[in-house]
C-alpha cells in the first residue's frame, strides 16, 4: 500500500512531481492554520502573560519575571485541586475499566437482542455531560430523589442525606456520575478487542487444563493490551481534565472540597480575574500534559 502510494506520488509521472508537492501542502494548509491559531496561540499567550502582572482590571504589561510560578508552587489551593483531580482519576479509571471488562466478557457469548442492549448501555456516553450531571442531581436529590427513597425503604426509616453538600458523600456522587457516563466507552472498546481474540487459542488453553483466569491473563489480556492501553490513555486524559460534571454537581463545593484543577483555573480566571496567575497555571498544565501525551503516543505508535 505504501509503496504504491509512493509510486503514485513520485513514480512514472515525474512531470507532475513538483505540482504534487505543492498540492499535498495545499491540502493540509487550512487545517493546520486553524489548529495553530486555536491550539498554539493560547500556549504562547499564556506564557507571555504569566511573566507579567496583569489582572482583568489592571492592564499593566510590565515584566514580572517568574513570580507567579513561585506563587503557584506555594499555593496550597492549587496543590489541593491537583490532589482532588488525582483522587477522582485514580478511583474512576480502574472502576470504569473493571466494569467495562466484566460487562464485555458477559456480552461475548451469543445473546438475544444484543444490539438493543448495547445501544442502551451506550446512551450515557453520548449524552451531554451537563445532562448527565442533571440526571444524577435528580437521582441524588435529598428529598425528591429515588435513591434517597430507595435507601429509606431498605433502612426502614426516612434518611436525610444532603448528597451534594455533605463532605462524606460528594465524592461518591461525582464518581457515580462519572463512572456511569464513561464505563460504556471502556465496555465498547474492550468488547471489540475481546471479540477479535482468536477463540482457537483460548479453547486450546482450556482443553490443556488452564483455568479461566490463567487463560484470561496469559492469552486474552496480552492480545487486547494495545487497545486497552489506548482506552486507558484516552480516559485518563479525559479524567485529568474533568470539569463539566463537577461544575454541575458541586461547582467545586462544599467550600473547595471537590475543586479540581480545571475548576480552580476557571475560578481564578473568571471569578477572581487573576489573568497572569491563571496564565501561569494554564502554561504549567499544558506543558505537563503535552509531555505525558507525546510520550504515550510515541509508545503506542498509533500512527502506523
Amino acid at each position: 500500500m505504501t509503496t504504491t502510494a509512493a509510486a503514485v506520488a513520485g513514480g512514472p509521472r515525474t512531470g507532475v512531481l513538483l505540482q504534487d508537492r505543492r498540492f499535498k501542502y495545499w491540502l493540509i494548509a487550512p487545517a493546520v492554520l486553524v489548529m495553530l491559531l486555536v491550539g498554539l496561540f493560547p500556549i504562547l499567550y499564556s506564557l507571555v502573560v504569566s511573566l507579567q502582572n496583569v489582572t482583568l482590571f489592571d492592564q499593566d504589561y510590565s515584566w514580572y519575571g517568574f513570580g507567579w510560578y513561585e506563587f503557584l508552587f506555594e499555593d496550597d489551593r492549587f496543590w489541593e485541586s491537583m490532589w482532588h483531580t488525582a483522587l477522582i482519576t485514580v478511583i474512576a479509571l480502574p472502576t470504569e475499566l473493571i466494569i467495562g471488562l466484566l460487562l464485555a466478557r458477559m456480552f461475548l457469548g451469543n445473546l438475544r437482542a444484543k444490539p438493543v442492549f448495547i445501544a442502551i448501555i451506550l446512551l450515557p456516553s453520548v449524552v451531554c455531560p451537563i445532562v448527565v450531571g442533571a440526571v444524577w442531581r435528580l437521582m441524588f436529590d435529598t428529598r425528591y430523589g429515588p435513591i434517597t427513597h430507595f435507601l429509606s425503604w431498605v433502612w426502614g426509616e426516612t434518611i436525610e442525606i444532603t448528597w451534594v453538600v455533605d463532605p462524606t458523600w460528594v465524592y461518591p456522587v461525582i464518581l457515580v456520575a462519572e463512572v456511569w457516563q464513561w464505563f460504556p466507552f471502556m465496555f465498547l472498546i474492550l468488547l471489540a478487542a475481546l471479540s477479535n481474540v482468536d477463540t482457537d487459542l483460548t479453547d486450546a488453553a482450556e482443553v490443556d487444563g488452564a483455568g479461566f483466569w490463567t487463560t484470561f491473563i496469559r492469552i486474552s489480556l496480552p492480545a487486547i493490551w494495545p487497545v486497552m492501553f489506548i482506552a486507558i490513555l484516552i480516559r485518563g486524559l479525559d479524567l485529568v481534565r474533568i470539569f463539566d460534571i463537577v461544575f454541575v454537581v458541586t461547582k467545586g463545593g462544599p467550600g473547595t472540597f471537590t475543586e479540581t484543577t480545571p475548576i480552580y483555573m476557571y475560578i481564578t480566571g473568571f471569578h477572581q480575574f487573576e489573568t497572569s496567575y491563571t496564565g501561569a497555571m494554564v502554561f504549567l498544565v499544558i506543558v505537563l500534559l503535552s509531555i505525558v501525551v507525546v510520550t504515550a503516543l510515541r509508545r503506542v505508535e498509533i500512527s502506523r
Binding site: K24, I28, P30, V38, Y45, L103, L122, A134, P262
Partner: protein
Amino acid sequence: MGVCVVVLVVAFPLYWLFIMAFKSAEEMYSVPPVYWPAEPNLGNFIVLFSGINEDARTFLNSLIIATSTTIITMILGTMCAYSMARFRTGGHNFAIWIMSQRMLPAIAIVFPLFLAFAFLDILDTFPAIIAVYVAFNLPFAIWMMRGYIQDIPIELEESALVDGCTRWQVLYKVILPMARAGIFATAVFTFIFTWNEFVFALVLSNKDIITYPVQVTGYFAVQQTYWNKVGAMSILGSIPIFFTVIFLQRYLVRGISMGALKG
C-alpha cells in the same frame, strides 16, 4: 439475566430524567417520588417555546454552531487526511502533533482565547466560536478520515489520473464518493461533540450565542433548581443523540474510540 439487571441499572437514571420532563409540578416535588406520572404533561415543553423564547433560541444557536462546525471541519479535515493518507505529508511527528491537539484541556485553551477574543471584540459571535470548534474537532476528523481513505484501493485513483483527471478532480470524483460512509459517520460524531460541548460555550458566549448546555446549567440556581426546565431541555437536547445511537450503532465503535483501534 445478569445482563438485563445491568441494562436496567444503566437505563433507570435516563428513564428518571425522561419522566421528570412529563411530570406536573406537584408530582415533581412529591415525597415519596412519583415513578409514573398520572398523565403525561406537555406543559414543561410548551413553556420552552412560548413567551420570550429564550430557551428555544438556545437550541437554534446550538444547531447553527454545530452544523457550521461540522461542514467546515469535514471539508478541511478530509483534505488534510487525504494528504496524510496518500502522501504521508508531515510523517509520524505531524500525526502525533495533531493527536496531541485533541488532548489539550479545553479550560486551559479557552482562557487565553477569551482574552484574545475580548481584545478583538469578537466574543459572543458565531464565527469566533465556530472557528474554535473547528480547531477542536479537526484532530478527530482527520484521524477518522485518514483511516477510511487508507481503506480505499489506490488503483482507482491511479486510473483516474491516467484518464486525465487533475488531483483535485480525483479527490472530488473518486475519494468523496468512495469515502461517503466514513464521511457521514465522522460528520455525525463531529456534530454530537459540538452539540454537547460545554466549556468553550460557557466562556465564549455571553448572550447572543448561548447554547443549550449553558442554558441548562443556568437553571441550577443556588436556592432552587428548576427541574421542569432542566428536564424538558435535557430531553429535547438529547433527542438527536438518541436517534444517532439507534441508527448508527455500527459506526459507534470506531467513532467513540477515535479510530485509534485501527490506527
